[in-house]
Amino acid sequence: MTDEILVIGAGPAGLAAARTAAAYGAKVSLLDDNRQVGGQYYRHPASEVLRSVRGDLFDEAERGADLLATTSDPNVAHLPGAVFYGFAEEGIAAFVHDDRLRRMTPGATIVATGATERPVPFPGWTLPGVMGAGAVQNLLKGQRTLPGRRILVTGNGPLTLLAAANLVRCGAEVVEVLEAARNRPPLAMLPRLLLEPEMLARGIAYRAILMKHRVPFRSRHVIVEATGSGRVEAATVAPVAEDGTPDLSRARALSVDTVVAGFGLIPASEVTRSIGCVHVHDPGKGGWIPVRTEDLETSRPGIFAAGECAGAAGVEKALLEGELAGLAAAMRVGAASGPLAEIHRDRLRRRLRRLMAFRVAIEAIYRPPGSLLSLARDDTVVCRCEEVTLGEARRWTRSGVTEANSLKAITRMSMGRCQGRNCLPTVARLIAAETGIDVAEVPLPRPRPPLKPVGVGALIGKD
């Protein structure tokens, strides 16, 4: 064991963790599989010229310049392009960097691996021209490029609204924005919303942008199907009932070349799941998240989880959690101590509590109807790596195979390169629907290392 701190992921949470731990004098290794720091939130074009295109709109990197400069802190060793391999041996973390497998024995580890888009299969979702809300944000922030000309935005949650507003502001023709949830705050939630007036105002501003550009926003509506030969040419949309089924009698066709389907984010909890941390299923936070102490330590001592990977709830929460985890990890390795550190910690804990109280209201506003599983038809591919359709998977669950591990063995679902990121949530919803149990009761297969594919050559070194 050393007094070094390993931070996995250099997005908002990871950067805040690294900066805080380093400020207390701890030595930090910060790794990320991207070459650029900042994760998805702080994504920006490498070229200055491109950065100036709509720089007024996408100023995250400018506002976060301080945080992004964490990589030049002398206490921080930044390892860009490093793929975390896993905790293969007790206390030893391994990662592939610079075409080599490297090991370290950190005194504390902060997992800050972010979130991925929730896969919600519907007919046509694999067509070129269909993309996630997060992917659109990346395209706008990173390339300053529009995904298409006539765009339907459909899905669930605040990120989808933000993507729609940004598309409009960048001059795209957004034909409609569909939000699957009722999208109305229950009265009891109003006081909570006022806890964070600034964030509330931003949400209202996004709606105002849509209104100003006369883009119809329809709550309780959803996509039924995307069609086209070779790429998206049209989409069918319909109102959605309480159980998540679309009302096909009121379906309409729209002529579009792009469908942005963003059904929210799910925590990228592969790292904590792969090492056997205890997890709970929290639908409001996107699914399976590690159980943590007030200082964000998981059930495995010395392993902390911060940000979206421990509950998808936005960048403000990720920044606060990163700071708290960085401080707690620094205390654990002996770099931080004393009353000032404790005051700092108590302040962070308080701010987090208030923010999470606000988030409860946001979760209530965007609670999706049903499971949306009924959007997929029998011939809809649900596992993209192994090309397994919903019908095939359902044939097995109906014949009594109601365990994700067995379904995996039979159909090869989740055995491909994504390790189930794109299909396991669907598998869990399917099993839950077929057996009448809650998604929280469906255990998922434990991810096996490497958590992302690595080159065979890199595992054994160059030459």
Partner: protein, 374 residues
């Protein structure tokens, strides 16, 4: 889980262990019209049989057990034909390679031993070797080809067997064995899901055979192996679906029809069979992959999808333990020691026959559980 409406309280034969040997034993019994229930501590087909590399080869086996492994291949072929579903059985032969001068000498001696047992081998070197397997590293100077070497898909085999057994009327239940006592000319097994009375018990318990035997008061010692395996992403077919093994040992490699390569060989991870904990040893994994790349260099350009470890067990005397336990009517052992996948279906056939009252074949005389009688 594959749900059962509880477990029966009485059944003629209980097979403990839902791996290759347990399921084939039960399949034969069910097809013979017998009442049989397979119990396992967890979901069926989860341990050694499910997570091994699928090799069903002769060339990498100990010479003294060759006849049994050959019978194993006969049974594999039969299984592939008899089950309703594809088990991914591929018989394109295999090559065993040699790199150093010592390797070549050992390969020659080994080939002579195998030939003495009637195994047909082709000696390959020089241009003949390059023509046959241009994807081998130049450091591979000689090889032997055996047309009998094969492999099967552990994933497909398990699911086909589970459904084949159910279709034949056999049962499978999650019910870990916790103890037993003799009862009315048979046994009362206590399990995590309740008691079961039975006339016959078959212990097809693989790496846990020592633990199961101890519940019957029998001392068998086995050594646990924690084998490392890796799978690559699908790549274009380039090795003609041959099974590649190495005379120096610790090497199995094959490319499945879907294009993914399975790298095995028995480099050791860490694990504990009582807690079920298993983990990779990174040094061993790297040594494993380095060795593989030294024989088939283009593996370097493949993408590794994942690595894992699985249990196998070696008997202290390196012999199988198969058939009825003398003096303990109704108690049968079904343990092959190592390479259970290759020999498994033959072990299943022999033990099922023994349960049906037939004599064990001559070959198995040495393998009687009687050698462990107290």
């Amino acid at each position: 889980m594959n749900r059962e409406a509880g477990i029966p309280t009485a059944v003629e034969t209980v097979v403990v262990g839902a791996g290759i040997i347990g399921l084939t034993t039960a399949l034969h019994l069910a097809r013979a019209g017998r009442e049989v229930l397979v119990i396992d501590k967890a979901e069926p087909w989860r341990e050694g049989s499910a997570v091994n590399a699928g090799t069903c080869a002769l060339q990498n086996k100990a010479t003294n057990l060759l006849p049994a492994y050959r019978q194993g291949l006969v049974e594999w072929r039969r299984l592939a034909g008899e089950l309703d579903e594809d088990i991914g059985f591929v018989n394109k032969g295999g090559i065993r390679v040699a790199q150093s001068a010592e390797d070549v000498a050992a390969l020659r001696a080994g080939a002579a031993d195998q030939a003495a047992q009637g195994v047909q081998l082709d000696w390959l070197d020089g241009n003949a070797l390059r023509d046959r397997a241009p994807w081998l590293a130049p450091t591979v100077t000689a090889a032997t080809f055996c047309a009998e070497d094969s492999f099967a898909s552990p994933l497909m085999t398990g699911q086909a067997l589970i459904r084949g057994l159910r279709a034949a009327g056999g049962g499978i239940a999650v019910a870990g064995l916790t103890g037993q006592r003799t009862q009315g000319g048979g046994y009362r097994l206590s399990t995590a899901a309740g008691n079961i009375d039975c006339r016959n018990v078959v212990l097809a318990t693989g790496a846990w055979t020592d633990r199961a035997a101890a519940m019957f008061g029998i001392g068998i010692s086995v050594r646990l192996n924690v084998n490392t395996l890796s799978v690559t992403e699908r790549i274009g077919q380039f090795m003609d679906n041959l099974v590649v093994t190495h005379i120096a040992g610790k090497f199995t490699l094959k490319q499945f029809p879907n294009g993914s390569c399975i790298l095995g060989g028995g480099f050791q991870g860490r694990g504990d069979k009582d807690s079920g904990r298993k983990e990779l040893d990174l040094d061993q994994l790297q040594e494993n992959i380095r060795f593989q790349c030294s024989v088939v260099p283009q593996l370097r350009d493949a993408t590794l999808l994942r690595s894992w470890v699985g249990f196998t067990a070696i008997a202290h005397d390196q012999k199988p333990t198969l058939g009825p336990m003398p003096g303990r009517p109704g108690l049968f052992f079904a343990f092959t020691t190592n390479a259970g996948f290759s020999m498994g279906p033959y072990a299943g056939r022999m033990v099922a026959d023994a349960v049906l009252g037939r004599a064990m074949p001559e070959i198995a005389r040495d393998w009687t559980p009687g050698r462990f009688a107290a």
